[in-house]
Symmetry: C2
Subunit: 218 residues, 2 copies
DNA sequence: GTTCAACATGAAAGGTGATTCAGGTTACGG
DNA sequence: CCGTAACCTGAATCACCTTTCATGTTGAAC
């Protein structure tokens, strides 16, 4: 069983292991990510690992949950600043793509979770959907989204985001090689995406971009 | 280097290995899928494996390409029978979900390809997108799809399909356990999905379900 | 400045699995 | 009914990894 550290030193060590694990899992994959590699990357002795984690699987689970919390935080934080639902959606997606660009580990690790820790993977997707449903249901009450099952819509949105992140962020970054330039979603692509979402969710016969007129706001 | 079989016997052996590999990769995962397990499942001697494949990675790649060809075939075949674009879309998705239900290996293997064989994974997604783009561009010329980048739309459709397959087929199957009942996409969910797609891609200010009136047809 | 939890360490035990290879077996053309 | 090319086999080799544990170090309370 993993032990929680009891002093500041221990806390630091544990955090270093977690960060190193994220790195190594993302670049080497679960199988090739040996405990030796993780502890080396963390600059920590091999045996120390087992003071804080029961084993490879356990630290993997924690890495997943950690990434999940961070990406959701980035998205909701970005969406919170926006006014209309559409703006919030756009800001949320943009934050998601930015997070993907800065932490390719997210994808690489979630994908592997399919086998390494199906439960953690499921938790990840379900938590994101829950956020979406929350936002969509509110927008629905405000009349900004047509009547529909918000959960189904949430899976649709997440699906689009996931593949766009893969195609337009990760692949793009791979193709550019290590030239350091930050990959961002092209505006053209984000516009098309928002176009589909807007039309797909808008109430009535798709008012396109007409702003709300009753002064209500969220 | 893998050798192609030169006799009927060899061809059969190779095919058995491929089928066994799909099974084992899907149920055990790449790492735990030992060559021993694959050859045992195929009812073939361990050493024989290396007559036909250079190693684990190579047979994995072939399994990916094989699954890809089969799922695309299932989708285009189903779509071919349909009349309008929307019907084709629906039929294609239904075929995809059916294939997913019958071959959970598709997901489990594609996901793992993230690390095992990124190139094969990319090939998989790109080939599917290519099919979609083809169909969407044709529908566009026929005025059934609004002006937009068909490739971007293709990624959006594929993303929705992918997550719906995971959520409403695979997870559902897992939750039901091994009770043998065939998992199908609920009509309610498929309707919602098609609703989003229809509105997202339809020309003009989203005529909802109004059929085309000029008599043109594809 | 002593004491003792808490923390840190890496050699070694105990496993597992990919791949090779030397030696059979099969079956078809002649 | 041979001869031989294609095919088949699994014990043995080699490489690598997780986890344990006996021992050493740190630092904060007193």
């Amino acid at each position: 069983m993993s032990a929680q550290p009891r002093t500041a030193r221990g806390t630091r060590t544990r955090a270093r292991l977690l960060a190193a694990a994220e790195d190594v899992f993302a670049s080497a994959g679960y199988h090739d990510a040996s405990i030796v590699k993780i502890t080396e990357q963390a600059g920590i002795g091999l045996g120390t690992f087992y003071l804080y984690f029961a084993g490879k699987q356990e630290i993997f689970d924690e890495v997943v949950d950690d990434l999940n919390a961070r990406v959701r935080h980035a998205m909701t934080e970005a969406a919170r600043a926006a006014g209309t639902r559409l703006e919030a959606e756009r800001a949320g997606f943009r934050a998601f793509f930015r997070f993907t660009a800065e932490h390719p580990a997210l994808y690489r690790i979630i994908r592997q979770a399919e086998f390494v820790s199906p439960a953690a993977q499921r938790r990840h997707y379900e938590k994101i959907v829950r956020s979406y449903v929350h936002g969509l249901a509110a927008a629905q009450e405000a009349g900004e989204v047509r009547p529909m099952d918000p959960e189904v819509a949430a899976w649709a949105l997440m699906g689009m985001g996931e593949l766009f992140g893969m195609r337009y962020i990760l692949w793009e970054a791979e193709d550019r090689g290590a030239d350091g330039s930050r990959v961002e979603i092209p505006d053209r692509v984000l516009d098309e995406l928002m176009g589909i979402i807007q039309r797909g969710l808008a109430p009535a016969p798709a008012p396109a971009d007409r702003p709300r007129e009753d002064g209500s706001h969220e």
